[in-house]
Subunit: 155 residues, 2 copies
DNA sequence: CTAAAAGTTGGAGTCGGCTCCAAGTCAAGA
DNA sequence: TCTTGACTTGGAGCCGACTCCAACTTTTAG
């Protein structure tokens, strides 16, 4: 049988771009499960852990607070999410958020593009808070032809 | 001639979803220009200001630190960005970041979708840190058919 | 005239997310 | 044997981004 490759915390940090301190911190606040230890107490990481840490780092880049990441990890660690209906609901909810965030980002890109190839323009953001209605689920497809909402400059 | 509509800080807060305190804070740190005042010292906001605040709020949702937003505002306020080549470079740089962030987010969506309709899977994040090479500029188009990078589960 | 509502200021406090110690353990090399 | 280096722990400190407060000035309603 094959041996599963194991990594030190330093190697893990290098591979994920997350610092050792931060990895330990995530473990401390139980965002990551307590890592396996060697006899000398040193942490050992597996491919799976590295993927998990990458996922965290990825979510972090999107501005998600650490507390909101927990549902992702629950799903990431456990076997079947279908066993936890509440978790599934949370995940769906997060999906919506992210999709709408993609739309926001796409608008920022549009904003920049506009600014870069003409002088004056200001894009709008889709705003899930405004008028408390459900976030409209904009599909990634739909998003790509997002048109400019209004213009401010002279005609 | 028409009168330009003006808003109180409260109305502005309501319309943008940014609290009054935060708006004042942004002004304090000069992220927003000092707002026009009425005779009694109360701040007055115009459509333009509201758009600017929405832009900030939009950028914030993406996890961008306030300091990084300044270039956007410079462009937003000034006339022609082409006058400031360094600013243009910064904007392009930010555009790249955002595009790659969109890709990250899309992967998170994929991750969730996978998790939701089968049991176990773990996606990867595109990682600009790893091996210091330039962020590959993934176009929004290209992104929409992002395929799953690898799979861990059953065939 | 008084009271409540909506604003102003400066400054203090809070909270999330690290980041940086100091003190200690262990393993390998000169 | 001594030192170097990679790790461990608990805890303190820091910074960004608010958030709250006290003291004050209007303005509007009753």
């Amino acid at each position: 049988m094959k041996i599963a490759p194991a990594y030190t915390i330093k190697q893990t940090a290098d591979q994920t771009g997350v610092t050792e301190d931060t990895i330990r911190y995530y473990e401390k606040i139980a965002l990551l499960p307590r890592a396996e230890r060697k006899d000398n107490g040193h942490r050992v990481y597996r491919e799976e852990d590295i993927r998990t840490i990458r996922l965290l780092s990825c979510l972090k880049k999107t501005g998600m607070p650490l507390e909101e990441m927990r549902p992702f990890l629950a799903v990431s660690a456990d076997a079947d999410p279908a066993d936890y209906p509440e978790l599934v609901a949370q995940l769906r909810h997060h999906r919506e958020n992210i999709v709408s965030q993609i739309a926001s980002l796409q608008q920022v890109v549009d904003f920049i593009d506009m600014k870069l190839d003409e002088g004056r323009y200001r894009g709008e953001c889709p705003d899930e808070e405004r008028s408390g209605q459900k976030t409209r689920p904009i599909s990634p497809m739909e998003m790509s032809h997002f048109s400019v909402a209004g213009r401010t400059g002279k005609p």
